[in-house]
């Protein structure tokens, strides 16, 4: 069930909310059972086929988690290996089997062998997210870090509807103690206020911004896919439109998830913190898809980097840098890339960011700068960072590498300026007219696209991050939306305007991951 649907906002959510607090007043466990039930219901409503897979995964991981938590159990390491491998195999089967077959077929064709048939596999929604959250539970159980082992709390943690479909990737230690706290199941007006605020911000990001950017981004990417040659202006405008679409879509979803969780007294960590304000790539990854970065950092990067650092220790600065920085960073970012889906474009996307990060780290090592940077230098850093991210998103959105290459050529001006068949002599006019490479596109639409991209920059650079509204401590008096008289008025208008857009089909981009 989509968050941005009438059924969810006006039926599912009110019923889930009211019944939860009615039960919670008398029975905390009953309220959690209700929460688990409505979460499973919303998952099954979206994909009944995937529901048994989710339930099976919960039973498997919870049982093995209990075994791993028992320090007296025999062959715990082998058990952990079995559990993690099983999770990864299931994920790989659903997500990557046809990708594997396609690449094998390509190789076999090259050598003149026959090809394999593709499997009829449907990707269960949210499988990447619920698999990752549960693998962390397994590892922590093995390491003796899991304190909370209540089955009901575990089910509620894995299935909680605000994040099961598309994240953020939640760590059990962040929410399971909250599920067990009776305090959190009491109606808290302040949490509801914050929930409404952040949910509305997310909803309007998705429906008022992301969906409008999509129209213009599609002109570039779909047009190039159909064989059109993207010229300079459409390549830049279209790629900017997609960068904004992706950000507003995914961060809008994450905001809605945070807001919804607050309705039920649960505080989940924010997934974005104004990433387009980042002034270097390291900073960017501390602000973009934070839950994935933290997860990968804790469970993959740190152990991997430690191992490689030991390997390179004392073998000279080049080998040391290679082992402690270059190899682990590249491996991790290739994994982050392929995590997004079975396509080489995601691998290249990850590789690009791995490369950017390595350059960024090396730059810091070679030219350490402890002084505060001037405005010009900061702006330049921001621009370089933004351009790198924008270029990487072209690869992320393109269906294959050749489409992305065409767009890169367009961005570099190698495909021309598109001055039109009947050049009037006024270059600026012709360039503006030809931006979207649509014959005689109405003037209003061109102006609208300009204004929208300008608005995108204003929102990402000037407006405060919605993550500020998820902190109860900060929310009392300082923040505009919750403290000023105009705050709730503006939010009410944003909410109503967003609701008025609900009739259109509007899937979330990250649902495919």
């Amino acid at each position: 069930m989509l968050f941005n649907s009438y059924e969810f906002i006006f039926l599912f959510l009110p019923v889930a909310f009211i019944v939860f607090y009615l039960i919670a007043g008398k029975n905390h466990s009953g309220a959690l059972a209700w929460l688990a039930f409505v979460s499973l219901f919303s998952y099954g409503y979206w994909s009944l086929y995937a529901l048994p897979i989710l339930i099976g995964s919960i039973i498997f991981n919870y049982s093995l988690g209990l075994c791993l938590a028992n320090p007296d159990a025999r062959k715990r390491k082998l058990l952990l290996f079995f559990a993690i491998t099983s999770n990864l195999l299931v994920l790989a089967f659903f997500k990557y089997s046809n990708f594997f077959i396609a690449n094998t077929n390509a190789l076999r064709s090259f050598f003149g062998f026959g090809t394999f048939d593709y499997l009829d596999v449907i990707l269960p929604i949210g499988i990447s997210f619920f698999t990752f959250t549960q693998m962390a539970f397994l590892v922590d159980s093995y390491q003796g870090k899991v304190k909370e082992r209540n089955l009901l709390h575990y089910i509620a943690f894995v299935t909680f509807f605000p994040y099961i479909f598309s994240g953020p990737i939640i760590h059990h230690r962040q929410v399971m103690p909250q599920f067990s706290s009776h305090e959190n199941s009491r109606l808290n007006v302040q949490k509801i206020m914050l929930g409404i605020t952040i949910f509305t911000i997310g909803l309007s990001k998705k429906l008022l911004l992301a969906d409008n950017f999509a129209t213009f981004a599609n002109l570039l990417f779909d047009g190039t896919k159909m064989g059109e040659v993207p010229h300079l202006m459409i390549s830049w405008f279209g790629s900017l439109a997609y960068s904004f679409q992706l950000y507003f879509d995914f961060s809008g979803y994450s905001d809605m998830a945070v807001g919804l969780a607050l309705f039920f007294g649960i505080l989940i960590p924010n997934n974005f913190n104004a990433p387009f304000k980042a002034t270097n790539i390291i900073d960017f990854w501390q602000r973009w898809h934070i839950s994935l970065t933290k997860y990968i950092g804790e469970y993959l990067y740190t152990p991997l980097a430690l191992r490689f650092t030991r390997l390179g220790f004392g073998r000279g600065p080049f080998i040391d840098t290679l082992c402690s920085l270059i190899v682990p960073t590249m491996i991790i970012f290739l994994i982050i890339g392929i995590w997004h889906g079975p396509n080489w474009t995601y691998v290249v996307f990850g590789g690009m960011h791995g490369l950017f990060l390595i350059i960024n780290h090396l730059w810091r090592q070679l030219l350490p700068n402890k002084k505060k940077l001037s405005l010009i230098k900061t702006s330049l850093n921001w621009l370089i960072t933004f351009l790198c991210v924008n270029a990487s998103f072209v690869m992320f959105r393109s269906e294959n590498i050749s489409i992305a290459s065409e767009i890169y050529k367009g961005m570099l001006g190698l495909n021309g300026l598109n001055l039109g068949e009947y050049y009037s002599g006024n270059m600026v006019k012709e360039i503006v007219k030809g931006i979207w490479q649509v014959d005689n596109m109405p003037k209003e639409t061109i102006i609208e696209s300009f204004l929208l991209i300008f608005l995108g920059f204003i929102v990402v650079l000037v407006f405060p991050s919605s993550s500020k509204y998820t902190s109860l401590e900060q929310s009392d008096s300082k923040l505009f939306y919750v403290s000023s008289t105009w705050g709730p008025i503006i939010l009410a208008f944003l909410f109503v305007l967003s609701i008025m857009q609900l009739g259109k089909p509007s899937p979330f981009l990250y649902f495919q991951f």
Binding site: Y6, M226, D439, N440, A492, V496, M500, G503
Partner: protein
């Protein structure tokens, strides 16, 4: 806590108030009669009933699409030929075609109108032939024509019959609760409200038994064909030529070739070509207009070629041409830059009359 309570009260009150205002506007103005059970009391329904009972009616300010919807509902005819298209087909009727026909042409018709009206008409009537007036803006998603939305419910239901996997971009949702607080429907309601308060046209329903032209009002015959008023029909060629540029640009001032519209068009042909004789009609432009089209709007020629090619691969007959010289239509045989008179249309229709 006071901040939170104040926030909640302000937010909830304002949201409720705004929803009530918008929902009331859409419910009571209801430009597309979605919430009203009194469809049949509309002006369009009354006009359609009057035409069913008499030979001709006098036109008035109405929603042509809704009128055709009720025409199909109330007309007790047995047409052998159904005609759909824009105003450029409105001369086809008893004077030009020697068959019982029903002309369902509407001004500025787009593919959506054809889809909706043909579905309604073939559900009620059993014609042998379908004539589709195919104008140059048929594949143009930037035509600016949005009037088809009066039939959007009918269109959305009909288009999925043509090709079940066709993706319909629903501009206005068909679900009851969606429309109460829907952006597109609210815009329609506001437009309708503005029209109601600014329109000064009388809405008296009049019928006439003779189809002799009136001075300043058009007549619609029982077969749906149109008799233009004398003021319009008797304009001099100087007047016609002076206003010709507007007709060249009509629905074509911006052009965006839409693959989606092309798919719907071919699906429409494939669907009806199975059980009916389908004929595509290319109504000619005024010779002066066509000369300018050749100079400035080559796309029109390309579209004619594309239509002929689509028809030829399906064995569908094409009659007429945007080029008036192909049917020997002279300057005097046009009401304006884009509307041929009976005599020109008769020459084109003769092809069908001869064959059958």
């Amino acid at each position: 806590m006071n901040t939170a309570k104040h926030f909640m009260i302000t937010f909830m009150t304002l949201v409720t108030f705004l929803f009530l205002i918008i929902a009331s506007l859409n419910y009571f103005v209801d430009p597309l009669n979605i919430f009203s059970d009194s469809d049949d009391e509309s002006l369009e329904a009354e006009l359609a009933r009057t035409l069913a009972a008499h030979q001709n009616i006098v036109t008035t300010n109405m929603d042509e699409r809704k009128f055709q919807l009720y025409r199909i509902k109330y007309a007790e005819l047995e047409p052998e030929v159904i005609i759909v298209g824009a105003s450029r087909v409105l001369q086809i009727g008893k004077n030009t075609l020697r068959k019982n026909s029903l002309n369902l042409g509407v001004s500025g018709a787009t593919i959506e109108d054809h889809v909706a009206l043909l579905d309604l008409a073939t559900t009620k009537f059993k014609p042998k032939m379908i004539i589709i007036g195919t104008d140059p803006w048929i594949f143009n998603s930037a035509s600016g024509q949005k009037r088809w939305q009066s039939l959007r419910t009918e269109y959305e239901s009909a288009v999925t019959k043509l090709q079940p996997d066709i993706i319909v971009n629903q501009t206005i949702s068909t679900r009851f609760y969606d429309q109460l607080i829907n952006y597109a429907y609210t815009k329609e309601s506001l437009d309708e409200l503005y029209k109601r308060y600014t329109s000064t046209d009388d809405v008296v329903v009049r019928y006439v038994e003779s189809d002799a032209p009136l001075q300043d009002r058009d007549i619609i015959r029982k077969d749906g064909s149109r008799v233009y008023n004398k003021n319009y029909a008797n304009r001099t060629q100087e007047d016609v030529v002076a206003n010709i540029d507007g007709w060249i640009e009509y629905s074509m001032s911006s052009y965006y070739d839409s693959k989606e519209l092309l798919n719907i068009f071919t699906a429409l042909l494939d669907h009806y070509n199975k059980n009916y004789e389908v004929v595509l009609l290319l109504s000619p432009y005024h010779p002066v207009a066509y000369k300018k089209i050749l100079e400035k709007k080559q796309i029109v020629v390309e579209i004619e070629n594309r239509i002929r090619s689509i028809a030829s691969t399906r064995g569908i007959q094409v009659i007429g041409s945007y080029d008036p010289s192909k049917n020997n239509c002279s300057n005097e045989e046009f009401y304006d830059g884009a509307h041929p008179k009976d005599v020109c249309m008769h020459r084109i229709m003769n092809k069908l009359n001869r064959i059958n």
